[in-house]
Symmetry: C2
Subunit: 237 residues, 2 copies
DNA sequence: CAATCTTTGTACGGTACCTGACATAACTCG
DNA sequence: CGAGTTATGTCAGGTACCGTACAAAGATTG
């Protein structure tokens, strides 16, 4: 285990003895696997290594909106460390992948020691908070084209891929819009040569171009998710 | 000090010895006082007892949107406990009031003890996260009338008042809309007999009615902010 | 390979909110 | 009390996105 072939940002930053105490177990995530469901007890924490999962709020009318993304930097279930016993929101896989999991009890015990694990978990919660707050502002002020571009970029970053299977229908759900709106908006990005796609598969062609088409929110969120383990990242400076 | 005449939810839940270690100092907040500014170092934590403060994200074009509200339940600056040295967002008073403050160092020392203060601070961060996530969804899906009603109710709850000085201009900034849109929307609520207002002063007349005019987001956020100190609130059950 | 299902393109009337402008009313200060 | 300032009402043209519907094209199944 020791000097870690981990791809997960948080696990990679931990010493071997901490890793051992967490008693990690490898897990696979198929597509659309429900990792958390609102109201269900959280009994394991998940550290993604590959793949991507979304957290969504579901409204009474059944519609949902994405409020957070999880990739190789993630710890899913941190709220269990914050005194919440039950899951707040739905979390499910958008891109199949794998990672590690541990028991909440082991994580809590390690958290209470007040060492690196606590520090990193708290920093990650902070990053999640930034993500949610920036999204709140973004959803209020920015256009669909900007938000779609932002989503595609973040997704690609989180999962370390530039091609992924996702339908317009799902994108509409994530962004809180309608499917036809996504189709036209995606069409615009396609005509601009920034992406290409066919039936459920999207391929990103031009990252700088997409970044320009998106809003400042992309880089702000990316920065926090990429750098939360570093003490003197651009975040803190 | 002991059995606490505190109105602040978190302070009220702490034992006298913890309170003493925090070395609180009373503070007054005039209107539009800037408590935190993005990039500035956080050197004190603030516990509001009366009044209300908003946290906003500011975009490059100068516009801003509210991403969180602080009232008698609040701890402003918790992110300093999470390993962030500098403030993430602007926080400033919307309704003048007062409260207590303590040095970040004292709060950090207390936090590290892993007792009640840590537990409550983490629970509060959790509540803030819920607030931000719910706002993200709400801003994407709900109408201006719903969101205005939600804002007015939350504001009244946080500050324990049913009348407050706020202009349409400011409301527009908070909700991420335009002033004329607020004017017409507020006019609708007024004609429905839910609120009344004159030049910068809003008075809430009918809370149940406003609740109906708002979206589910109001009660969800209110529930978390009201109950985060209780272990078995509706949140966790 | 026909039948079905899923995904995408597209169109069209409707609505919510924007943008900017102008008018009015209330408060403030000289 | 008159002049300036601030807050609100309102309007009109424009745009972004909704809501719904339907057609077409790729994928899947029997």
């Amino acid at each position: 285990m020791r000097t870690s072939g981990f791809k997960n940002t948080l696990l990679k930053a931990l010493d071997g003895d901490v890793i051992e105490r967490l008693r990690l177990q490898p897990v696979k995530f198929e597509l659309k696997h429900e990792i958390e469901n609102p109201g269900n007890p959280i009994d394991r924490l998940y550290f993604l290594e590959e793949g991507m999962a979304s957290m969504t709020t579901t409204f009474k009318d059944g519609s949902q909106v994405e409020v957070g993304m999880f990739g190789y930097e993630s710890v899913i279930g941190v709220s269990a460390l914050m005194g919440t016993k039950k899951s707040l929101n739905r979390v499910y896989t958008q891109i199949a992948g794998h990672g590690y999991s541990c028991q909440v009890e082991d994580a809590k015990r390690e958290f209470r020691l007040g060492g690196a694990f606590q520090f990193l978990a708290l920093r990650y919660v902070q990053a999640q908070l930034v993500q949610a707050m920036q999204s709140a502002g973004c959803n209020a002020k920015h256009s669909f084209e900007q938000r779609l571009a932002r989503w595609l970029l973040l997704c690609a970053d989180r999962a370390h891929v530039d091609t992924f299977k996702i339908s317009h229908e799902f994108l509409a759900d994530m962004l809180g819009g309608r499917r036809p709106t996504i189709s036209t908006t995606a069409g615009i990005l396609k005509r601009k040569g920034l992406i290409e796609y066919t039936r459920g598969e999207i391929h990103i062609l031009d990252v700088p171009g997409l970044t320009k088409a998106s809003c400042e929110c992309y880089l702000i969120i990316k920065d926090y998710l990429d750098n939360y383990t570093k003490f003197d990242s651009t975040i803190t400076s």
